[in-house]
Each structure stands twice: as structure tokens, then as C-alpha cells.
């Protein structure tokens, strides 16, 4: 497909998905504000709602915004959300 065909076909879909993403991030901000106002008990992690998964979201957004480099954003995003592979695993497992 030509570039303009790709944009034409996917514009509304991309717009909708970006909106969904923005709404989730807004929801998270609101939840933090409400949680903070309530002064709920618990550890710092619980109060702030910080989570390593949120850091992954931030990293993922950077990948989406990065300059094109071999059209491999989907692959890089998949690797970001993957557990590490250790080549020595068979020795560790003893199999």
C-alpha cells in the first residue's frame, strides 16, 4: 500500500486508540489524586500507585515516538514486555 493509503485507512483507528490511551493515563492521575486526598494508609508504593509496569508504558511510548529504524517498533515493543532469556538456562535447570 502507498503511505497515504495506510494513513487514510488507519487514521480513525489510530485516533481512537490514542484517545483510549490518554484516557487511561488521565484515569491513573485522577486515582492518584483521590488516593492522596483520602490520606489512605499503606506503604509509599501503595500511596503513589507507582508500579514497574507503568515504567514499561513510558518506555513503550518512547519506542513509538522514536525515529523509524527498520520499521521494527512492534518487535521492539514486544521485547520490552518480555522476560529476559538466559543462554545458560539448561545448566541452571540441570536438563
Amino acid at each position: 500500500m502507498a503511505p497515504n493509503q495506510v494513513i487514510e485507512r488507519h487514521h480513525l483507528e489510530v485516533r481512537a486508540r490514542l484517545l483510549e490511551l490518554a484516557a487511561v493515563l488521565d484515569r491513573l492521575d485522577r486515582a492518584r489524586e483521590q488516593h492522596s486526598e483520602c490520606g489512605s494508609e499503606g506503604d509509599e508504593r501503595s500511596r503513589s500507585g507507582s508500579d514497574t509496569r507503568e515504567s514499561l508504558w513510558q518506555e513503550a511510548l518512547k519506542i513509538l515516538l522514536a525515529p523509524a529504524d527498520g520499521a521494527d517498533r512492534a518487535e521492539r515493543l514486544q521485547l520490552l514486555f518480555s522476560r529476559e532469556y538466559r543462554p545458560q538456562w539448561r545448566g541452571e535447570f540441570g536438563v
Binding site: 500500500m1 512492534a74 518487535e75 514486544q78 521485547l79 518480555s82 532469556y85 539448561r90 536438563v95
Partner: protein
């Protein structure tokens, strides 16, 4: 367009699905043994399951002009019970001569544990000993990359296994290259939520070409769509791809891979039509 779904769990689907698949052009299905949604308690439970796969489903499919083939194993989710797994593995050879059995599958990893790896290796040994084709399940989500690399390590370490006789399923953008580069067949699973959409599968076909690449629905008892392959055909046509390329991915490639089994014999379309009218 006639097509083959190389991975579809029809024991979990209703008869209406067979009718719909037939109307949409599906001429053959291969059904790997898998997790029933609960851990089975005995080897006899698997014996009944293997009878269902080799006796009941072929008859159900034939009523709609669809050829039914299957694969046998204990799946990775139940492999944590190594003792049960070994009982089931010992039973598998009893069924290998059944006329619709293509090989051992879907074996693989789930959470990438030591027990899963142990049971996977023992399945490979059966496949090598009985010269069976192999169909492999790769893990879900964050476990997929690690698990796929571990599976490739185990396959490549066994010199008895020929890569062209192994299908590694559920590949995605981060695992497809390693599978194809090592000479194995790769399957893309079209799921509504996880795994791969028809659009992303089309992207991978454009990027890697059709050689040793297949698509499947992996329809089962969870959120899935047994008619997902026609969605991929539609997407590829929308992008202007040739009928030859589409037919190669959804029909000729499964035939080429399955034909390595003595049990695979896809009759011509007119023969299937005649059988329907009997």
C-alpha cells in the same frame, strides 16, 4: 478460497462451527492436543481425549466435507505433574498408527519451568524415536520470547530432529525471525485479544515472505474466532496481494508440511463433494 486451519481445537467448538468453516472454504483442520481448561487427574482421562481426537472428531468433521487430523501429547500446563506426564507419554505410541494422527503436539512451554522443559524433552524423544512430525506451542505474553528461545535451544541440541519437520506455533514479531532463520516452520495465531491480529499477521507475511509460514485460528474454549483465517485472506486481498501468495500461506504451506506424515492425504475437492452426497 479453499484453506486449511493447521491449529483448531474442535473438541471445544459446536457443530455449527464446522458448518460455518465449511461454507467459508475450510477443507482440512489439524487439532493439537491441549489443556482442557482444568488439569486432568489420570492418564485414562487422556486416553479418552485421544479417542475423541482420533475417532469422534474426524466423523463430525466429515459430515461437513472437512478432513480432520490431530496431534497427541500432554500439554505444557499439565507438565508440572511429571509423573502423570510420563504415564501419558508412555501411552502415546498406542495411538500413533491411527489414520488421522500427524505427530506429537502441541508440546512446548508455558511458564518456562524445569518440569516443563523435562517433559518437553521427553516428548521430543518420542517424536524422534517414532519419526513423527512435531507441533510446538510457545508461551504467552511476557513468557513468549524467553520460552521460544529455550524451545529452540532444545530442538537444536537434538541432532535427530530435522527442522523442516517441526512447526513452531504462535510466533509474533519478536520470535518469528529466530524460528524461520533456524529452518523451522512458523505458525501465526490469529486471536481477538492476545497473540496476533490478521493485520499484524499480514505485516509479518510482507516482512518475511510466505516461505515456511502458516496462519491458524487456534480456536478453542476461550475468546477465539475459528473463522479467523478468512479474515487474514480478506486483509491480504485488501492490501492488493496476489491470490497465489494468499493461497500459498493458507493452503499450500500446510499441505507441504503435513505431507511429510504418511497419514496426511487430502482428497481433491470433487472427491470430498461426492462424499457429502452419499
Amino acid at each position: 478460497m479453499d484453506y486449511i486451519d493447521p491449529h483448531l481445537h474442535m473438541v471445544s467448538r459446536i457443530t455449527d462451527d464446522y458448518a460455518t468453516l465449511s461454507r467459508m472454504g475450510c477443507v482440512a483442520i489439524s487439532e493439537p492436543a491441549f489443556w482442557a481448561g482444568f488439569d486432568r487427574g489420570s492418564a485414562d482421562g487422556f486416553r479418552d481425549y485421544f479417542r475423541q481426537l482420533t475417532e469422534v472428531e474426524p466423523k463430525r468433521a466429515a459430515q461437513y466435507g472437512i478432513q480432520h487430523y490431530c496431534w497427541l501429547c500432554i500439554n505444557a500446563k499439565e507438565a508440572e505433574n511429571v509423573a502423570l506426564s510420563r504415564e501419558v507419554i508412555r501411552m502415546i505410541p498406542e495411538f500413533l498408527d491411527r489414520s488421522n494422527v500427524l505427530g506429537i503436539g502441541e508440546i512446548g512451554l508455558n511458564k518456562n519451568t524445569r518440569n516443563e522443559a523435562t517433559v518437553f524433552l521427553e516428548h521430543l524423544d518420542v517424536a524422534a524415536h517414532y519419526e513423527q512430525l512435531i507441533l510446538i506451542h510457545t508461551p504467552h505474553l511476557e513468557d513468549k520470547y524467553q520460552g521460544t528461545r529455550m524451545i529452540l535451544d532444545m530442538l537444536q541440541a537434538d541432532r535427530r530432529l530435522e527442522p523442516q519437520r517441526v512447526l513452531v506455533d504462535h510466533v509474533e514479531e519478536h520470535t518469528i525471525r529466530a524460528v524461520l532463520d533456524a529452518g523451522y516452520w512458523a505458525g501465526m495465531t490469529l486471536y481477538p485479544v492476545t497473540k496476533c491480529t490478521p493485520e499484524r499477521a499480514a505485516d509479518m507475511i510482507e516482512r518475511y515472505g510466505p516461505e515456511r509460514l502458516m496462519a491458524n485460528s487456534a480456536g478453542d474454549w476461550g475468546p477465539s474466532k475459528p473463522t479467523a483465517i478468512p479474515d487474514l485472506i480478506f486483509e491480504l486481498r485488501r492490501r492488493g496481494h496476489s491470490e497465489d501468495l494468499i493461497r500459498r500461506v493458507v493452503y499450500e504451506n500446510p499441505i507441504e508440511f503435513f505431507s511429510q506424515s504418511k497419514n496426511f492425504r487430502l482428497p481433491p475437492r470433487h472427491a470430498a463433494d461426492q462424499r457429502l452426497t452419499v
